[in-house]
């Protein structure tokens, strides 16, 4: 096997004048080189961000590949770049994305200006709404860019057999990737097999069907006539595999004396990098009858955004919830009561009011002091709360089940496990149908030879595949009942599977053990298929999180001490893995609130912290006690849970900090610098 390495631009924007691959070709161990961006091709000769792909090499060892990649001679004409969102908004940045820009920027889909102004969305009567208001608030709130930081980096191993490609890819969608290879390499889809047995996280950044590193890996392997492994390093991950776009909003909002929000007028913006959108929901969840919003996407020369766990929601949540808290203070209402007053009507998929009351009770909300901890000394304690929603439905699941005469069960499903526990979920559903232990089930997933299922994005996996597996296993069980019913002298329909036996429903003694039953199957396994049908799954969840923090007002350091997460996800299929999703989501959002930050040098546009040293991530000792309350809504069927828990923690932590220190930090992350500065402003 060979190892691939990509040559990337160190400049945020540059024209590639020439690329000389020969020094790399002569380097020890090099078996293939590839020009990804041809300087002669004016549509592709401009790199638009640090980390943009230019060329690649494959060599016999990873070290040789890395050394050889550095020998590729790229001549750049460094071009002006847009680095800061503020510059682009103020109109004093170079017109990088404008129609008048270089020809290479005129590729299809490239925006025509540094700022893309969206349509204004308006509901109700803004002027009338503000007239009803007793108080108005005008503030600007913002969140920053973070990256996905999957512990397993992006990459692939590609192996050709003639014109047939087998690719082991770190992907959230094996089937989409298969089609991506077929399209990108111009080969029949039937020639491609994609495998993802296990993976170490994607968070939305691995949904791309034609990721450059996958295409490059396949092409290097073809050229070298040998399998090639190409995994990105941490720096490449930060620069070129997606990020969560920034978000900001200048908001004017009006509220009546008794706490009804009557009008909302917002101008919002954000950046998703060199040409990608940066949308987010605003206002988030709360009902405001009269509202207007205008949004701008701002383009800067950085890597492009990709969906990141609950795209848009953490940003919309932070901006909305901090505004809510400031409004609650204005009308002197308890933040929980104020929220409840402005919620949409309660429904099975909109249970925030109930969860707020339940959570407040359990969390000890009655002990929360008003804004600003009066306790003496530098350590201040505070509490905060925020809410979430997410879709989480799914419909693209198919499964194939085989029961062998020795009683073992194989379930095949062309889904993939991002590390969320999908493999466990597959086994749990099958084991439940058959009334046998999970250990008897062998889930086979993550391979395009299995029945085609959807990509794992948008929290759709559980709701997409659980019904398919349920239907396939029920079909298989029905067939098994048919086989054994005559021997028992009963009607197949009278049989049930439970406790490792197949038996007459109200007469457990009349039946046989699972092993005995399966012996009737014979040499050919008993097989059945299933596809998703409506009725076993649903869509839209609600959740609430409470946070408690301690803040040192002499250092600006925040310690999160407690999180309570109430979350529904319909029928809880696998409690262990569902709770794990909440833990992981909370930790990710805590990182968003306090630690993670993609920091660009303001002069060169190059990232100064493309590592895990200065790109801060919580360690074990930075993670508080997290209490998870999964709310059972079994009657609604299966709904995904991956995304919603990572939405509200950041806002809840920020509001707990506000409650502790008595001043509002209106942007993330909550750095010691910002906290101390905000405190100093109040004293001044």
């Amino acid at each position: 096997m060979l190892y691939g390495k990509i040559v990337r631009s160190p400049h945020p924007r540059a024209r590639i004048v020439s690329v000389d691959l020969t020094p790399a070709q002569k380097a020890p161990g090099v078996k293939a080189t590839l020009l990804w961006r041809d300087p002669a091709d004016t549509a592709r000769s401009i790199v638009m961000y640090q980390g943009d792909e230019i060329a690649a090499v494959a060599a016999d060892t990873e070290e040789h590949a890395t050394d050889a990649a550095r020998l590729v001679k790229v001549e750049y004409e460094v071009l002006p770049a847009v680095i800061q969102v503020d510059q682009a908004l103020a109109g004093n940045a170079p017109a990088v994305f404008a129609a008048s820009g270089p020809a290479a920027d005129n590729t299809p889909g490239t925006p025509r200006s540094n700022v893309r102004q969206g349509q204004t969305q308006e509901t109700g009567d803004i002027a009338a709404g503000f007239k009803q208001a007793a108080q108005t608030l005008e503030e600007t709130y913002s969140t920053h860019v973070i990256t996905h930081v999957c512990l397993e980096s992006h990459g692939a191993v590609c192996e050709w057999d003639g014109d047939n490609l087998t690719a082991w890819v770190s992907t959230q969608g094996v089937n989409a990737t298969k089609d991506g290879f077929a399209t990108g390499l111009k080969i029949p889809a039937s020639n491609v097999r994609v495998i993802t047995q296990y993976m170490g996280g994607g968070f939305g950044s691995k949904l791309g069907a034609q990721d450059p590193q996958s295409m490059i890996c396949a092409r290097l392997a073809k050229q070298a006539n040998a399998p090639v492994k190409l995994m990105l390093d941490r720096k490449e991950e930060h620069l070129a595999t997606g990020n969560r776009p920034s978000a900001a909003a200048r908001i004017k909002v009006g509220v009546t004396a008794d706490g009804m929000i009557t009008a909302f007028d917002a101008e919002s913006w954000g950046t998703g990098g060199a040409g990608a959108a940066a949308g987010f929901p605003l206002p988030y969840i709360y009902q405001i009858p009269n509202r207007r919003r205008t949004h701008k996407d701002v383009f800067i020369n950085t890597g492009l955004q990709r969906p990141m766990r609950a795209p848009g929601h953490p940003q919309g949540s932070f901006i909305t919830e901090v505004m809510m808290e400031e409004l609650a203070d204005r009308v002197k209402m308890d933040p929980v009561e104020f929220r409840i007053k402005n919620l949409p009507p309660e429904a099975p998929n909109a249970m925030w009011g109930s969860y707020l009351r339940q959570g407040a009770k359990e969390f000890g909300w009655d002990k929360r002091h008003p804004t600003g901890d009066p306790a003496p000394g530098p350590i201040k304690t505070g509490m905060g709360v925020a809410i979430n929603t997410w879709g989480g439905g799914g419909s693209q699941g198919r499964a194939h089940v085989e029961i062998s005469s020795d009683g073992t069960v194989v379930v095949r499903c062309g889904t993939q496990d991002l590390g969320t526990g999908t493999r466990t979920l597959v086994a749990v559903v099958a084991a439940d149908t058959f009334g046998i232990p999970v250990s008897n089930i062998k889930p086979e997933i993550g391979d395009t030879v299995y029945p085609v299922s959807g990509g794992s994005g948008g929290s759709t996996t559980a709701a997409g595949i659980s019904p398919a597996i349920r239907i396939a296993t029920v079909n298989a069980l029905d067939a098994l009942k048919e086989k054994i019913a005559p021997a028992l002298g009963v009607e197949p329909a009278s049989l049930v599977a439970a406790n490792g036996r197949i038996q007459v429903k109200d007469n457990p003694s009349k039946g046989m053990s699972w092993a005995e039953a399966c012996k009737q199957i014979g040499p050919q396994p008993l097989a059945a298929d299933g596809a998703w049908q409506p009725g076993l799954s649903s869509v839209t969840t609600s959740g609430v999180q409470f946070a408690e923090v301690k803040v040192d007002i002499e250092t600006g350091i925040v310690k999160v001490t407690r999180i309570l997460a109430l979350q529904d996800c319909g029928l809880v299929v696998s409690r262990l893995t569902a709770e794990s999703q909440v833990y992981g989501g909370v930790v990710g959002s805590l990182n968003f609130a306090l630690f993670e930050d993609r920091i660009l040098d303001r002069n060169t546009g190059q990232m100064v912290n493309p590592n895990m040293e200065w790109y801060l991530l919580a360690g074990m000792s930075d993670i508080p006690k997290i209490d998870v309350r999964l709310i059972d809504q079994s009657e609604r069927g299966v709904i995904g849970i991956g995304e919603p828990p990572t939405v509200p923690t950041a806002a809840a932590v920020a509001l707990a900090v506000r409650n502790a220190i008595g001043v509002t930090v209106r942007s993330l992350p909550l750095t010691p610098a910002k906290i101390l500065q905000t405190l100093a402003q109040r004293r001044a």
């Binding site: 250092t555 801060l616 000792s621 010691p672």
Partner: protein, 334 residues
């Protein structure tokens, strides 16, 4: 990583002989926690590596007069767990206990900690050819300087990365350096160098063909010691600021004090003004705060690091209170 040759001497003389007078041509390798990372990032590209783990002393020796001599190859974890060092130089042990992670403390050495290169993100990323890499600018004053120096006036604005350098100065340590012409003894207070245009590529007086072999700590006498570090994360992270404070008492009053700050300047930053402010005083919240004010007088923050003044003040104040045996709050542990 650039290919390099590797030698494995078994005594300090051979190790020194394997070095070169040329800058960064040959480099010593101990725990490798810094050097290997720099080599992987193409920040440092030596031709030869000299493994000094088998060549340098890793033990602690008692000195006549009651001091201790610590071998530079001693692992940080061994320093932390050494009963005699803990008893005589508790601030040194506290500082060592804050270094990196358990893995790093199990691998990294005393000499490596003292001689590691700056963690400045401009220095560590090969895109930025700064003064320290032979370039003609420091990127931090007009760039991202939230973790940079608040003392000194350039040309480089790094903060010194060593946790052990600060208590070494507080405890009046002397470093034994061994070169081709034999040994020389350099006080810790003279070892670290403020940057000038001439010496900006290095952080100390160690010559490329010398090794730091020992840290010699004099008998501390009857003193009280305190240490306080502030950082974002409780787990693996670099301090925003920290301080070591030693107090010699005369009854309830301070006879003399030593106040040294870390992560605020290109060298460990001793504050004689804070020491003077403490002399003759009984330690209270107020006298500690006044000394901390004095310690930060004259700080010159860059565009984004003014907050470090407040953080460093807090570190000094709490290190003083800690030394005095008073209650010190810490948000990470309450």
């Amino acid at each position: 990583m650039k290919a390099f040759s590797y030698v494995n001497p078994t005594n300090e003389r051979d190790a020194v002989r394997a070095l070169s007078p040329e800058f960064e041509k040959v480099l010593p390798l101990a725990g490798g926690q810094d050097l290997l990372a720099r080599m992987k990032d193409y920040v440092t590209e030596p031709d030869r590596i000299v493994n000094v783990k088998n060549a340098l002393d890793a033990t602690v020796t008692s000195m006549p007069g009651g001091g201790l001599k610590i071998g530079a190859a001693m692992k940080i974890v061994d320093l932390v767990e050494h009963p005699q060092i803990s008893k005589l130089y508790p601030a040194m042990v506290l500082a060592a206990g804050e270094v990196g992670t358990p893995q790093i403390r199990n691998q990294g050495t005393v000499g490596g900690n003292l001689n590691q290169r700056p963690r400045c993100w401009y220095f560590r990323n090969e895109e930025f050819v700064c003064f320290k890499k032979g370039g003609n600018q420091c990127f931090s004053p007009s760039g991202e300087n939230q973790f940079h120096a608040i003392f000194g006036s350039g040309p480089s604005f790094i903060v010194h990365p060593s946790s052990l350098a600060v208590p070494s100065i507080a405890y009046n340590a002397t470093f034994r350096l061994l070169g081709p012409k034999g040994e020389r003894m350099v006080p810790a207070s003279e070892y670290f160098t403020m940057p000038t245009l001439q010496n900006v590529r290095t952080e100390n007086v160690l010559m490329p063909n010398e090794l730091l072999t020992h840290v010699i700590l004099p008998a501390p006498g009857t003193i009280k010691s305190g240490h306080y570090e502030v950082r974002y994360k409780e787990s693996h992270d670099w301090p925003i600021a920290f301080a070591t404070v030693l107090l010699a008492m005369n009854g309830d009053a301070v006879r003399s004090a030593r106040v040294v700050m870390g992560a605020v300047a290109p060298v460990p930053w001793r504050s004689e003004a804070a020491e003077a402010a403490l002399a003759g005083k009984t330690i209270t919240e107020e006298t500690a705060a006044a000394a901390a004010e004095a310690a930060l007088r004259g700080a010159k923050p860059l565009s984004q690091n003014a907050y470090k003044i407040q953080v460093a003040k807090t570190a000094v104040k709490r290190a003083i209170l800690h030394a005095a045996g008073m209650n010190v709050v810490d948000v990470k542990t309450i």
